[in-house]
Symmetry: D2
Subunit: 336 residues, 4 copies
Amino acid sequence: MKTTKLGILGLGRIGRIHLENLCTKIPGVEVLAAMNPSEAGQAFARSWNVPLVTSDADTVINHPDINAIVVCSPTDSHAEYVQKAARAGKAIFCEKPLDLSLETVKQTLKVVKDAKVPLMLAFNQRLDPSFAAVKEKINDGSIGNIISVHIISRDPEPPPVHYIKSSGGLFMDMTIHDFDMSRHITGSEVTEVFAKGYNLIDPEIGKAGDIDTGFILLTFENGVTVIIENSRKAIYGYDQRLEVFGTKGMVRAENPYKDTSLFFDESGGHMKRLPDFFMTRYVVSYLREMEDFIDALRNKRPMPITGEDGLKAMIIAVAANRSVKEGRPVKITEIG
Amino acid sequence: MKTTKLGILGLGRIGRIHLENLCTKIPGVEVLAAMNPSEAGQAFARSWNVPLVTSDADTVINHPDINAIVVCSPTDSHAEYVQKAARAGKAIFCEKPLDLSLETVKQTLKVVKDAKVPLMLAFNQRLDPSFAAVKEKINDGSIGNIISVHIISRDPEPPPVHYIKSSGGLFMDMTIHDFDMSRHITGSEVTEVFAKGYNLIDPEIGKAGDIDTGFILLTFENGVTVIIENSRKAIYGYDQRLEVFGTKGMVRAENPYKDTSLFFDESGGHMKRLPDFFMTRYVVSYLREMEDFIDALRNKRPMPITGEDGLKAMIIAVAANRSVKEGRPVKITEIG
Amino acid sequence: MKTTKLGILGLGRIGRIHLENLCTKIPGVEVLAAMNPSEAGQAFARSWNVPLVTSDADTVINHPDINAIVVCSPTDSHAEYVQKAARAGKAIFCEKPLDLSLETVKQTLKVVKDAKVPLMLAFNQRLDPSFAAVKEKINDGSIGNIISVHIISRDPEPPPVHYIKSSGGLFMDMTIHDFDMSRHITGSEVTEVFAKGYNLIDPEIGKAGDIDTGFILLTFENGVTVIIENSRKAIYGYDQRLEVFGTKGMVRAENPYKDTSLFFDESGGHMKRLPDFFMTRYVVSYLREMEDFIDALRNKRPMPITGEDGLKAMIIAVAANRSVKEGRPVKITEIG
Amino acid sequence: MKTTKLGILGLGRIGRIHLENLCTKIPGVEVLAAMNPSEAGQAFARSWNVPLVTSDADTVINHPDINAIVVCSPTDSHAEYVQKAARAGKAIFCEKPLDLSLETVKQTLKVVKDAKVPLMLAFNQRLDPSFAAVKEKINDGSIGNIISVHIISRDPEPPPVHYIKSSGGLFMDMTIHDFDMSRHITGSEVTEVFAKGYNLIDPEIGKAGDIDTGFILLTFENGVTVIIENSRKAIYGYDQRLEVFGTKGMVRAENPYKDTSLFFDESGGHMKRLPDFFMTRYVVSYLREMEDFIDALRNKRPMPITGEDGLKAMIIAVAANRSVKEGRPVKITEIG
């Protein structure tokens, strides 16, 4: 097995998860260089003995021994780094989204295509074991023809307002995962989007021009209906559920709990809280997406999640925003 | 306690449930007369020792000792019987719907109002213990402000096509319960309806001009969003769920199972099937609605579910049908 | 179908359940006479239109039109009534136990045997749908060879001390159901009993010479081990569970809850309380045992639960008491 | 924070888990040396960049820079290595058991005591999050006075017969964890042991002189009863449960499932399998025990689980073996 040599850009929350997984869980890889503007992230990289730690992205991207670049920097740098890495002939793993502008995404994908380098986009939720088990039940025919899909995604707490401001909005930042999951689960493409959006959780989010509560009804080419419910805040924890109803059966992925203990007293039975947030809920899926990336690279297989997947989810988000604004169902063909 | 003396019209499935409950479970009532066109229903009444068994509705309605009429005959006779009973000064319990025509319903309600008799409409699901427990959590403040409601209602098997033809359609026949539940749970009125309807289960239903699959997104005056999923067939049994999400908590009513046994083998853990249908799932709620009717009569309290509740649910159904037809959200004010 | 004509002795809690079920749920039966010493029980019988209501048991037992006697009077009258009914040639349904004395039970069974009348003993828990589902999994081979059985039976509240005093003690009064269930589930006979008993709940029970907490380990002829846990008080409700472990699988009957609603808040998820007590938990099993009795009578089939079943459960209870007293495992052969 | 410098002896399954956790999950530690007789284990150590890899235990134990020794070698070397490490003044973490002979254990503990070095014994199950949650409910008073404890521990597959032969037997090898858990949960000491043991799973185990099925009833000084059920094989997976019943409440730790997906078809609802074995079930507890060891070392706190805990669990196992052999309850004071 030839060693895969990687560079990583950005060591915030997600970057650190990927770096730790690469250093401790995935055999046959070496992280040769890491870029982070701040000292804290650099120290993290050093603690894992990354040989070259820098604040300069180009040094990492152009490192002659590096085969692949993992992009975990802030969203507004994704397009630039991906394009540079593509032009340098490197394989790329990039956190979602590629960019908040459809135009920039399309142009970036063109650069990647022209460079003929592999690009994997990080829709990690596809790889959550419970959601993957749902997909497996579809694939093995247990569900029959899918009739509808229901996704609930609620965060435990809204992000800070300054994050909201540069996030692209609820649909682009949060629902984007559910749009991707919808395409993944149905195996089809959206034709129409009807969406409702509200500011019910925190007035500051409304002042920042965003919504914190969303309901989306998607119609797919194959006739499947997908319903998505989103909220920036569920007081009872991180609520992530998926249910698929079909002609032969129904399958649902329920939330896990912090532990399996049950307590009974005079008032009834009591279960533990849901997981706190994505850091604890999606531990396995973060590892799996990095394994899948390395595995595809090593065996020269197509990337399991592509830049086009990212583009298509974004187009749904744009249609959803228009639907809220205009109070009507929007055809996907209306979006440029 | 003065004995309440009743007459019952119609002894099909629901009529028999009510007659049996009246004869065996509710103290202080007497069923003096029963009407059914066929011999089978009449024999059922006789087996419960009903003194007067007849095929003539007027004989029951005008029986001088009877205070209250329970109408369980086919839908197309409801309006006539209710109007006659009202004019005869009797209290009325009527199965839903009052009629398939909005005009006839309005006119019937006017007759009832003019006659100043109490009328209770049979939206029994409000009284299911698990759904009632959901409502209680809202009432006691545990949920905070309601943000959204999600209702799943799937039958185990579609009814015969001849029933479909005279049913008024999926939204009027089946979703009507969910429309009523939405108003009951939110404590508010619908302003807008967006609905999708499909014929995915049985082509014969489509040929009969109806749908068998529906998705409805309701917007309420108080800002709450309600999402309803309906199917005429769930292969895994009678699926009836309700979930309410609010600022302080979330509450859901899950399906019961046939029994509480769990079996574990090499392939995993196995629970029993869901209840077969409404006859086994809603046993308690059928009893409670009759108790509530008798109780309101006896204590001269307002009926807990009124003819107006029936009318309002019907108006939502009409709007839902128009939304499917026109492919757009329909304002409730558009419906006459 | 020939009508089965019954008389009932005793209209306390259980007697009323049986009378109501006979009058409202079981076709083809008629209750011709009822005996109860007090006016309240007699009034109950009259409310169900029982033609002959009396305080004299012999009048019921010797009623010429009556085929079968249902004995629900206090335990100390069971043996007398059963013997009289047997001598009068009536079929008999009797609440457990036949008597608190092994000698009297044996003698009574002899009278029944000599009279060649059918006798069914009321171990209703065998007929609980969830426990019956467990038995079914054993019968259909899903469990393979049984290795062990675990029974938890905890009441929500201890009975009054005056009841305790005449109850025969915890093992004879409460665990007797679990001893019967053990024999039923294992399909085998006990060879050895090791038991521990404590007074941990209420000192008054100890003063009355009884225990309120018991642990029993039974060894069966076929090598199966059964473990029973009993308590007179579980603050969280009526806890009745059964689990069977075998070479091919495991099956457990879990407790039901008051309803299926689940509430989630900051502290976690919350289920409703367990059922209050046997009146609400075993509704179906009471009906089924009466149906089975009538069905066996009508079709001249052997009674599903016999007087010998009652005797064998009692012998286990006697052995358990001796085990607690002597601090050692007791062979069943040691009991006369 | 001063770096803790460790040596590790033995790199089989458990040794590798500890080494990986030390190298990747616990900050402020360095593994300076590793001993394993075979090349495979040595290669594993090298892959984690352990500077000194050897087949000689003394080299590790006497390494001048090493503060603490982690003993994961086969059981028959534990006593020797622990004694050597103690005499070398090192802190010690040792897998259970210290030895199969009570005498050797006592003598080893004396050496440790004389050397005044800290020793932690690896009863990792105490640190499982769900079992720890049970203990927490006891500690915070939610359970009131404990009345009884029920432990189910069933392996998915028996170990190879050659392992069985040198294991010390079911009670010493497997139940030892449950004996420790019993002491941990009740906070008390055993006074009497009644045990039953059978060879029901694999005749080869019987030929090797061992049992594969055990039932144990422990009586504690504080009046609590603990019931343990053990099997070397549960066809449905690794079954590890704990339930505590008390005067104020009941708490149970249920099994987790492989994922949270639920599938419903005509036959009912289906959950996933239980975890495969301790490697997947107790991931977190293995990490926590190493963290706790390092934490106690660093802050000079008493070890959370001691050599005496190991000794006391062993004494219970000896009593259990005698109880099975002699068919009677055995007082703990009977064991030397």
